[in-house]
Every structure is written in structure tokens, then in C-alpha cells.
Assembly symmetry: C2
Homo-oligomer: 447 residues x 2
Amino acid sequence: MTQTFKKTIKAFRSTFLDFVADPFYVPEAECVRYIPDGLLILEDGKVKELGAYDQLQDKYADIPVTAYPGRLIMPGFIDTHIHFPQTEMIAAYGEQLLEWLSKYVFPAERKFKDKAYAKEVATVFLDELLKNGTTTALVFAAVFPESVDAFFEEADRRNLRMIAGKVMMDRNAPSFILDTAESSYQDTKKLIEKWHKKGRLLYAVTPRFAPTSSNQQLQLAEKLLQEYPDVYLHTHISENLNEVAWVKELFSECNGYLDVYDQAGLVKERSVFAHGIHLTDQEFQRLSETKAAIAFCPTSNLFLGSGLFKIEQAKSAEHPVKVGLGTDIGAGTSFSILQTANEAYKVAQLRQQKLSPFKALFLATLGGAKALCLDNIIGNFDVGKEADFVVLDLRSTPLMAFRNPDAIPKSLEELADRTFSLIIMGDDRAVQATYIMGELASSQQSG
Amino acid sequence: MTQTFKKTIKAFRSTFLDFVADPFYVPEAECVRYIPDGLLILEDGKVKELGAYDQLQDKYADIPVTAYPGRLIMPGFIDTHIHFPQTEMIAAYGEQLLEWLSKYVFPAERKFKDKAYAKEVATVFLDELLKNGTTTALVFAAVFPESVDAFFEEADRRNLRMIAGKVMMDRNAPSFILDTAESSYQDTKKLIEKWHKKGRLLYAVTPRFAPTSSNQQLQLAEKLLQEYPDVYLHTHISENLNEVAWVKELFSECNGYLDVYDQAGLVKERSVFAHGIHLTDQEFQRLSETKAAIAFCPTSNLFLGSGLFKIEQAKSAEHPVKVGLGTDIGAGTSFSILQTANEAYKVAQLRQQKLSPFKALFLATLGGAKALCLDNIIGNFDVGKEADFVVLDLRSTPLMAFRNPDAIPKSLEELADRTFSLIIMGDDRAVQATYIMGELASSQQSG
């Protein structure tokens, strides 16, 4: 046997939970794959097999096993909307969207022309993501190409499945943070050539939002999507009522906010729109038809007082829209997808809706992967998928230990109860370890 | 000098922040007492003096100093509404108020007839409060006198300034959790005699809420307030729209929810009403006139989907109502008053209001003390007050350390920014130590 054919095989024994279908449309019991005592076999960082320990142990008797007794292993969390240059400005006081951008965001992002600074922040940012169990994110960089290089260099070094892009914005903001339609096109093109599909990295064409892009810039964004059909489109939509009114003023020729992007040819599969709080029925339908996705960012939507996202409308049976969860750091208040799910539950409650723990955890994993059109390679433990996963501790604080006397749920009902407590009470401390392609990337002392 | 005259003197050096007036009515700069390098002198557990270190150091040169460099010392947090028997049922899924009570609360509280069990939970509960920096709370026990004994015994052992009471409920709930009007009167009377003013403990007459008390029971509650004029009245009001409608049905002779309590003579100074989300303008006015207080419980109000409290109306200049923050465990989702303030900010934002960090921290300390009519003995560092305080770390996580490079704010503006980040990003980890009457009661490794 030559070296060429040598594969790296790894085995993990623990309790496993992932999703195999969408619980918004399929009965929950059919969506949940729960293995109380399971064995996960990886080959070269990808899933080779997952099953009950007693059924697989003989087959893999030669492989050393990493065991996490009393823990729950899930696919890595997916954050479908976040801004890495805003890491330093979490908790900026007292404003709603448009004023908050001018007062806090633009001055903070200005610093990201300095690549060394951008690298430093990218390091903190990626450490926080991994510590919180987030293994894939769709990321806004800043307007400066240096910020994208810094981010991708750090993500690549960690072998992460990350999607990011340079912000495009050529108007309605201070000149120190503007590009031009032409420069944004050229810079983005170079960045796509440099980074898209390098290792696990992917590129997103990233106009900030309609008010800060000219029609020409939006059209050039579309040209990039034509030239590179498998890159993403990542932007914001209908977050705040003043923003929506402003867009109507700026684009009076369009029939609403989504239509601005639609007329430019930017609404399609692989397009991800953050927020969508004030979307109309027609806009939800159009997103459904085009297979575009929405990033639901509850901690941000509450922090900026933007409003309450209509999850049940987005996930309706008639016009289903792909939805993922987003922390939206720095308007969001936590890097934790668990805490994000906590506030998603609260937003649903305020709207007299119920977001079950399985639905929330689906959004955090396979649902996020679907929103990012990555469900063929991440999002659950199907054979062949990239093995990014988290080791969770349902008893990570004294209070959670008191709430959950038994570490391992014995039924689906118990599992729902325990994972709900994980969402409502858990934070980064509940994430004992994070693995990337089967390699330990982050860990903490056991709780 | 005889032993009798020997006083215990202690000294603490750190940065100090407390409030000397209400920032909802007085310019913030006049309300904040901020001492970047201060010395706090205690005598027998009470404040003897607080001032700048360089001005006091000679005077107290003989006293050993406990120093917390790079930390912020504030008065202990005050939780104006919480249920100790619900500690175990935080994160109970999927219901709004009335169904949540039947499905989760009543079965959980039933167990508190067993005093040993109640003691065990009281221990966990008080440990959590102290770990989170809460030094005084207004607490619902269960319907069983045993639960009150258990709670007060544990609180007394820790020398805590706590207020609690036996739940009174004689209808509209399962029989296993009901008392009768007469038994509730007799049991409460005995408990008041036994516990009110024992050490630092105080008693609250505690009808659960109008729907579960007969008129007779409410009248006997009022009789107790007459017989013991310095005990408290603690109940719920106008939390949920179905609840409000039910009260109107049950008490059709009354002019709204507050009027039910008012006709029974229960609306007065030392009366604390939890929630008050759906109060009318007239009811706010009546609370103002009577000097009754409201406990604002945002994590609970969001978790149960109850609605958004109108803080600006409660704190209006025309009809000011006393307001404190409440975690409302177990409908609330965190023991942390910091996280409670985080969600209070979000509730305000959704209502297009701004809750400044100083206003929020005022509510958490002196405001809470005023709501509980305890501002003569706790709530800030005025001379003679009981020295319950917390040692806070503005850099308690890697992310907070990144957000706040300097531990000690140099101006009031910086202080506002840093304390806002404490509210939005902080949790129990930000509470490095909690002192009760000058004695260390809880501490953790420095972050």
C-alpha cells in the first residue's frame, strides 16, 4: 500500500443530534436524528459513517476513539449574517439603524483600511465564532479590499468554511468609507479571483444596502454574478421603517425595496438578505419564487428596535423562503447562536407564534446551510459532509446542571426540553469544544 | 476601652459608582457619583465614609485595605420580583401566561410542601442571586408555609436583606396548590410573627394574582396590612391580555384590574405589582398617587410574549411611579440583573424609547431600593447604609476585554459607554465578588 492511499480515520463517541429534514414542513420526529450512544467515523475530515455505538464498534475496533460522555455533539452552528469589522463596537448606545450607522459604524469600519488592524480584529472575531460553536458564517468585511484579505487569510489559516466579501457603497455615506461603482467592480473582481474557492473559502458580492449604492453599482454587482455564477450576493433589506421609506424615495421608479435589487438582477438563489422585517406579502412571495434567503437576526432587531421578524410567514407552506439565523454583530448583542435562538423564540412569542427548539436548532444548522446553498457539504452528519461540529454541555453552569439533572435525554420529548433549556440558558460556556474538519479548533475546561 | 465599644472597621479601595438621585427626573450628571480611585470605609458592615483615596488614606492609614484595582464597585443589585420555587423550571417551553401556570408552575410549586426540598432549592436560588450580584430581592415563595420557612432560614443564615411571603391562592387552580381565605390569613400571620424583621428579613403579604384569590382572601390580605403596617404587599398585575380579560370577568363589579386590588385596600406605599404591561393611563396615575411600585421584568415579558412595558409612562414627570427591575425567574430567563437590563433596553428600543445605562443601573440599585421603600438603608453608598455591594469586571470575557481596552473610565461619557457594554454583554462572569454587610459572600476567579 503506498502513501497516496493512506486515509486519516477518526472516531468520536458521544450523543449525537442533527436534522435530516425541515421541521417547518415535515413532522418533527421525522426530522430529528438522535443517537443517545453513537459513533461518528470521519475519513479525511469528512463523515464516513454515523450510527449507534454498539452497531459500529466492531467494524472500527482498530480506530482510537475520542469519547465525550455526557455531552451532545451537533453540526457546527451557521451564522448567516455578521459584520467582522463591527466586533469592537458591540453595544453602541442609543440609536436606531440609520443614525447608528453614521454615528458608530462608519467611523469603526474606517479603521479597516489598515490591514494589520484588520488582521488583529479578524483573529478576535474568528476566536469568538469558534468559541461559540459557529463554524460557518456569511460575513460583511469593510469597504477596503485589505479588510477582505485580512479576514480570508485568517479564515484560511484555520481551514474554515467561510463566505465573505468587500462592502460596495458609493453614495450617501462619508467619503472616507466610499468606493465608486467602477472601483467596487474592479476590486471585487480581483478578490473573487483571489479567494473564491481557495480552500474552503467562498466569496459574496456585498453591496451594503440599497441606499448606499447607485444604480450603476448595483448593475455592476449583477455583472459580477453573471461572470462568476457560483459566488453569493449578500446585502440588507427592510430592517427599519425609516430605511424602507428612504429607499422608496431614492428608487421611486421601483415597486418597493426588494424590487430595487430585483430590477438589478440581484434576487436569485445564492442571494442572502439580512433582516426583512418589513417585507410585504408580495416580497415574501418573490423571495420564495427566486429561492433567495433571509437571515433572521433577532438580537440585532431588538437592540436597534427594528421590529419583529415574521418567521411563520417566511416559512409558510405556500411560499416557503429559506431562512437562517444571524447574529448581526455589531448590532447584534452576542456571538452565540444559542442566545440568538433565545431571542428568536422571544420574537416569535411576542407575535403569538411558537418557535420550537428543534425548529430553532434546525435554523442554526441544516437550515442555515440550506440558506447558504451549502447543505450538500455541511449542516448535518450525512455521509460525505465536512465534519465541522460542536460538543455541547447541557449542564455547563450550576443552574443548567440543576435544571437538567440527567445529561443525556432518554426520549424525543426530553430531548426537546433539554435543548430548549440550552437555547434559553446556554451561551459560549455550553460549547465545550468545536471541531473543524474533524480537528479540534477550540475548547474550554469542562463545565 | 472595653470590648463593648470595639467596632469592626474595613476599607476597600477601587473605582466606585452609585446614584444619589433619580436620572429619570434629574440631569444624569447630577445623579451619578463616580470615584475613579476611591476608598470605602465600613463600620460594622455599614458605610462610614466614601471618598477619593488620596483624601481619605491618611485618616485611615491604620486600617488594612482590600484593593480591587481595575474593577468597579457598585451597590448590590436589587431584584424586585422573583419566584424562588421556579428556579428548576426556567425555560419551560411554548406557552403564554395562563397555560404556562397550569402546565408548568403549579406542578413545580407543589413540591415545595416538602421543606427539605424547599431548602435545597433555596440554597441553589440564593447562590445564583449572589453569584449574579443580587443582594436584595422581593421573592414569591409557594403556597406552603414550609417553603417560606425554608427560604427565610437560608436567607437568614447568609444575613441577606430579603423580602418574601407565602403565596395566597384560594381558587381557580388545582386543589393541591390551594389554601383557603382563612388558612391563608392564619398562616401568613404566623409567618409574619416569625420572620418579619428577624435579622434583615422582611415579610410580604403575597396573593398570587386576582384570578386565584377570592374577594374574601383579598380582604384578609388587607387586614394583615392593617395589623402589620410595615409589611409589604406583593402580587402581579396586567401581565397578559387574556389575564386582564379574565380579571374583568371575575370582578365585573370593579373598574379594571388595579381597581380589584384598590377596592380591597391593597394599593399603597409598600405595594409592589409585577409587570403592569397593559395598565391604563388611569391605573398608572393611581399607582403614582398611592406611591405603589411596579416591577419591570423584561426577560419574562419577552419569554411569555406578554408585551412591552411602558417605562416612559411609568417614569413620567406628571405621574411618577416607582419602578424596579425584576428577573421574574422562572418566566424570566436569567438571574442576572445585567441581562435583565439588556432586555429592558431592547423593550424600550422597540417602543422608540431610550433607556440609558445610568437609568438602567439606577433601576438596578437605588431605583429598586426606592420601589421597595428601602432607600433609607440600601441602594447606594450614603453614610449609614448597609454595605451590600458588588465588584464588577468590565473586561470579564475576552470579547469585553477587547471592547473595553481600559478598565477604568476617565470621564462620565466613557463611564456611560463602558457601563452600557456591561449591561449588553455582561452576565454572572462580570460579577467578580459580592459582599454582604461588608463580608465576602460570593466570588469567582478573576476574568
